[in-house]
Symmetry: C2
Subunit: 463 residues, 2 copies
């Protein structure tokens, strides 16, 4: 008689959880490791970041967003995926997970040796959004996306949309709704939308949004919703009502830690679950966590941060799975790289914004350099704005932002790798970057910005 297999239970069947499950399976087969994954929704491993593009019909089919469906996990990976099962409790003493089968409406208890907590994040909801109103949508899961699409397709077809919140999701949804022909107002509490970049760069994004017809109401606080005939009719603000027959909430997310907290898993200062480099929950034997529910080390500030993003979830899940499978892998932390687009305008950021650098106690200079994505004389050359933030007096790069058209956003990666390696802006002026007229001026925008930062540092030192 062979040994009894160990048992891994995965809480949350999206990027982090299923990446962990797959990697663990690659290293340990069914005879060694039984894997059960609970997912409260209808889907596994889909691209949440792709939802705005499905809403806009740029991506026409929902299933295009699904990276791997439950059948693939079941059949090819021998993972017992249980959809529509909401985990309601984790009993660390008895080493059991309690889950509710939402369709069968019954409770199941499953024992585990190893637990992978990947419950993701939940949308932030202010008081006024707590009571469900027809026509008001969060936008986090594929189920949320499906609900919004159904509402947009139903009669009477909504015509006036209000998006509350100008972060990535808000901005991308505003674009999607404009593309579907709706009148769109974006409400942002801060002075500019896209507060993931500094206000001067956010202003460029706001201008581009206005150019495609999005109305921006910045510095406006939402106070409530107005309902008529069982449907949303307006968003109420401190400055008066804004009519709406569809409302999308993009107010950000917080780590989904209720179960973890109840079970006694340690939370960090960011409010997300603490993990070590291997994605182990410290002090709790056999429990791992990854994805939008954990906090990560910010390599520039040295502080723990909560950065819910699919790219980290996938990496962290993979790391956890390799370790659960008996290998060795470590997650090295984040530097806050992100890219997005608003219609044709592209936005990239990495590292610290000015406010982050100040909060972390850095002294710094910041410069904004305008250049072009191609040689100035080359057809299609468009303005590219690069902002650099550098520690003074050391010159170490702390953060960078790019706003521009056509092939601008992904150039943030060049700066991200420089930042990752602790380069100074002076070092960066010598970087050997690719040059050809269709792709860059002979002085690359990154080099121009680095030179400008060196000059600003010298001027700041003279002062």
């Amino acid at each position: 008689m062979g040994a009894v297999a160990e048992r891994l239970i995965v809480v949350g069947g999206d990027a982090a959880g299923m990446a962990a499950a797959s990697q663990a399976r690659r290293r340990r087969d069914r005879a060694e490791l039984e894997i059960v994954a609970f997912e409260r929704g209808h889907f596994t491993s889909y691209s949440a970041c792709g939802i705005p593009y499905w809403i806009s019909d740029v991506v026409p089919e929902r299933d295009q967003l699904i990276a791997r469906d439950p059948e693939t996990f079941r059949n090819s990976f021998d993972i017992d995926v249980r959809l529509r099962h909401e985990v309601t409790g984790i009993d660390l003493d008895r080493r059991e997970v309690i889950a509710r089968d939402l369709d069968g409406d019954r409770e199941v208890r499953e024992p585990f040796d190893t637990l992978m907590y990947a419950a993701g994040a939940v949308p932030i909801k202010p008081d006024w959004a707590r009571t469900p109103v027809n026509g008001v949508f969060g936008m986090q899961t594929l189920d949320d996306g499906a609900a919004l699409r159904d509402w947009l397709d139903a009669e009477p077809a909504p015509r006036e949309a209000v998006v509350v919140g100008g972060g990535y999701i808000g901005v991308e949804l505003a674009e999607a709704l404009v593309q579907r022909g709706l009148t769109v107002t974006l409400i942002e509490q801060a002075d500019t939308p896209m507060s993931t970049v500094d206000a001067d760069m956010g202003q460029l994004v706001a201008d581009a949004m206005r150019d495609v017809g999005i109305r921006i109401r910045a510095g406006v606080r939402v106070t409530g919703l107005d309902e008529r005939d069982g449907r949303v009719a307006a968003v109420l603000t401190a400055e008066g009502p804004i009519p709406a027959d569809v409302v999308v909430l993009g107010l950000g997310v917080r780590p989904n830690v209720a179960l973890a907290e109840a079970a006694g898993l340690p939370l960090g200062p960011s409010g997300a679950i603490r993990v070590d480099r291997r994605m182990r929950v410290p002090g709790v034997d056999g429990v791992w966590a990854a994805g939008d529910c954990v906090e990560s080390l910010h390599r520039v500030s040295g502080l723990p941060v909560h950065v819910p993003l699919g790219t980290h979830a996938n990496k962290q899940g993979r790391v956890a799975g390799i370790n659960i499978g008996g290998g060795y892998a470590a997650f090295p932390g984040v530097i806050g790289t992100a890219v997005t687009k608003v219609c044709d305008l592209e936005v990239g950021r990495t590292g610290l914004r000015e406010r982050d650098a100040a909060a972390a106690g850095f002294e710094f200079v910041s410069v904004v350099a305008e250049s072009t994505n191609r040689a100035g004389y080359f057809p299609g050359a468009r303005k590219m704005t690069v902002k650099l933030i550098a520690e003074r007096p050391s010159g170490r790069l702390l953060g960078a932002q790019i706003v521009g058209w056509s092939e601008a956003a992904k150039r943030i990666d060049t700066l991200a790798v420089a930042l990752w390696n602790g380069m100074t802006v002076d070092d960066m002026t010598g970087l050997d970057l690719g040059y050809a007229p269709p792709y860059a001026p002979v002085w690359d925008p990154v080099l121009i910005a680095a030179r400008k930062a060196v000059e600003a540092l010298a001027a700041a030192t003279r002062d």
Copy 2:
């Protein structure tokens, strides 16, 4: 009476020479430093890399390629630019430059305190190309470009073009001539064109060239030219003649060091002029050199290399000028980054190719990873092929190549910065790169390639 100004003579009025002159002027005014620049051609500071796009009419006007004209240098920088003056001798003992005024046909001698040698490069010409033939063009200067354009516009309009040499210039010219409606054959002595990348990646380029109708004759040696009625009629090869009424030579360049050698300036093992980090010619007082005539340290191989490229010429000229002006600057070396496009196909490379790595004595693994430039489900997603070469067993990145469509080429910069900083492929798997569906799959192509390289290293270690 004030002190007599020092005198800087610049040999060669293109990127390196004029960057040096401008930077020196920024730091020292006319009362301190008199600057004379000799240029044998008709232009200063133009984009040689842009010539193929002027040939194709993508850039319609010649003057769009001129970054700064002689009047600007004269009036705004107080630099005595003398066009059509070919320097014929440098007398280091008497500290004089001898030049020939090509239009006036007279010799001038000018004394200098400081000499900036920036004579650039000259096209490589095999024996069969030494005698001028009507309809056969080198392609290095703006004057060369003008001559080719005149030939293409004249009657009888040429219809069959042969490009000899499949490097950057050859490939870009082949594309330009196809775009002008000519039938184009590219002859390349090696097995694939674009030997600036490894043959497996060059094959992808060759396929794309064939797709736009360029005939490729690889592994073919040219033996001569056939002339009829005072015009070129065919290119003769070891495999028979190829009819041609216009021939473009793209056989590369060598450093233009004849004058330097005659004056006793030291040449390095690459055949180009030796310089130190500040672009000073070692052992020769007050003489500086920069641009296509000097050799540079390759930061990966540690060897001196000759890499004639505008981006280095500009950086080196700037460094020399800052130093001549009394400041401090150093050129940190090159890593061989380059990008180009062949119709819509984009090609990027950095670091060592397999053959370079082997020649430099490295043991290495190389991997080729196929991915996409956008999320696989996003409209416009196209294949992107990333090749990585990593030292074994250390895992240090030695070189990288990218071939793909739409936003592929400049992603080489991400790898260039990783290489610049001596990252291992294992480190690279954790890089925080920008992710959004329009710009990358959730696993960026760079990360996928790095993971594959880690696996290859592990497999190589097990063997």
